[in-house]
Symmetry: C2
Subunit: 246 residues, 2 copies
DNA sequence: CAAGTAATAACGTCAGAACAAAGTATTGAC
DNA sequence: GTCAATACTTTGTTCTGACGTTATTACTTG
């Protein structure tokens, strides 16, 4: 009843689907605080009449917000704004993106850039074990602190990435640029004492561990995109993630 | 054209929705290998006529598989079985579940079980800092090896969990039993050298690190469910996860 | 007055239809 | 024979309409 009416304008000439236009505007109403956690949400039928669109369209828009955890629907009860502190979904990002977002100045040194055969990486990427892969090893700095030693293996169709590209951009930015979008990744996170190589490149002194992460990434069709084996200075880095069971 | 016709039987008297019945049977056709990666999938309209259901029903069923990464749809082209090695979505599980699945004999010792006020935990759970919380510390063994030292804080409405419950069942199993389903969690993973408490309880000798994980878990409405601060023997444990951007 | 019951509001499921958009394959002109 | 226009296939979007299911509220009744 006393639900706030969020202002929504729809443009039927836009190439963007109606349900998406609606979803976008409802989303921003929540993220910018016009609607607060616990607030009752305008019901479907009222929205249908107010926006002059069909019920499936409204339902699909609302469903989009429910999937992202912004709304909670209960049959017979109505829809309310979720009380979630953290509306953000976990995204498949790279360390580079993280640093840029934090406003720190990242720098990348490329240590290795060569074609090799690596059985473990090939197996992880679901390719024949003797497939030649582009092997890249990089050290990522934040300011003057070396944070990560990253070793990645890329399948043949990406073997033309240049050393210069990798020094300038993050790996995932380069892939996105080429229209390659990793959407699924299997990661394994652990910890151990550093190797001498890691001690040297990450400036680890004394008895400090490294945080390790291996990752197999695939695109929407299940094609291998990259295999990565990374080590982080544990004293300066944690892996943040958002698990979402919806 | 030459797409295989997956056998699907639908029961209109079942309380289970039609789209779900269809999705289930299509899913098993892929997971048990009747349909293989790359195989063309029967098109929507053909399925509609064969199963005598409406197109929205078929579309919703197919969408369910697409969301789980089993199928790939391309407009004008058709639908094909995804080439994914790993169809399984990452699930919000506990170590206990992992061990049981591996067939190892888990054992839990409850070290602490008391009401306390903890500012950090209360803040994480989005509760007033002086809220009394149930603090539980446990050691989880696999066989005779101590794998994890787990400290959890639970909000007031869960403070009646008994020591016995916690020794017998996993925390998440107890919560499920009560109809509480954590669906979102913010986790932070790191590594460091063990404290003396951790050395003692996890039998860590010499210079071996621990893998640490803190977690804030919430239910679908955004209500706090638990705050956890865990340490794992890094030599025997890694955190496996599946990132999914769909 | 309390407990059961009926009305109501809201979301959930399902159908059938029409048109749009994106690829692919075919056809026709030069 | 090559290239461009056209036809066709398949998924994407949107609509209208109907009925089912669940929780709340108000009313009735013992």
């Amino acid at each position: 009843m006393g639900a706030l009416e969020v202002k929504v304008t729809i443009d039927r000439r836009s190439p963007s689907p109606l349900y998406h236009q609606v979803a976008e505007q409802l989303t921003s109403a929540i993220t910018d605080g016009r609607l607060k956690p616990g607030d009752p949400f305008e019901n479907e039928i009222a929205l249908v009449e107010r926006l002059k669109v069909s019920r499936p369209t409204v339902r699909r828009a609302i469903q989009e917000l429910v999937d992202r955890g912004l709304l909670v629907r209960r049959r017979g009860l109505g829809t309310t704004v979720a009380n979630s502190k953290v509306h953000r979904r976990f995204e498949l990002t790279s360390l580079y993106d993280d640093l840029v977002r934090d406003g720190r100045q990242p720098r990348t040194d490329v240590l290795t850039h060569e074609m090799t055969v690596n059985e473990r990486a090939a197996a992880a990427l679901d390719l024949p074990v003797d497939t030649p892969l582009l092997h890249v090893a990089r050290v990522r700095h934040a300011g003057e602190i070396p944070l990560a030693l990253m070793r990645n293996w890329l399948p043949p169709h990406l073997s033309d990435l240049t050393r210069e590209d990798l020094e300038t951009y993050g790996l995932y930015a380069i892939l996105r640029e080429r229209g390659i979008r990793p959407v699924v990744a299997q990661q394994s996170i652990g910890a151990r004492m550093p190797t001498s190589l890691e001690r040297r490149h990450l400036h680890i002194r004394g008895s400090q561990p490294v945080l390790t992460m291996t990752r197999m990434a695939f695109d929407a069709s299940g094609n291998a995109v990259e295999f990565g084996d990374h080590s982080y200075r544990a004293s300066d880095y944690t892996i943040e993630l958002m698990v979402d069971e919806r």
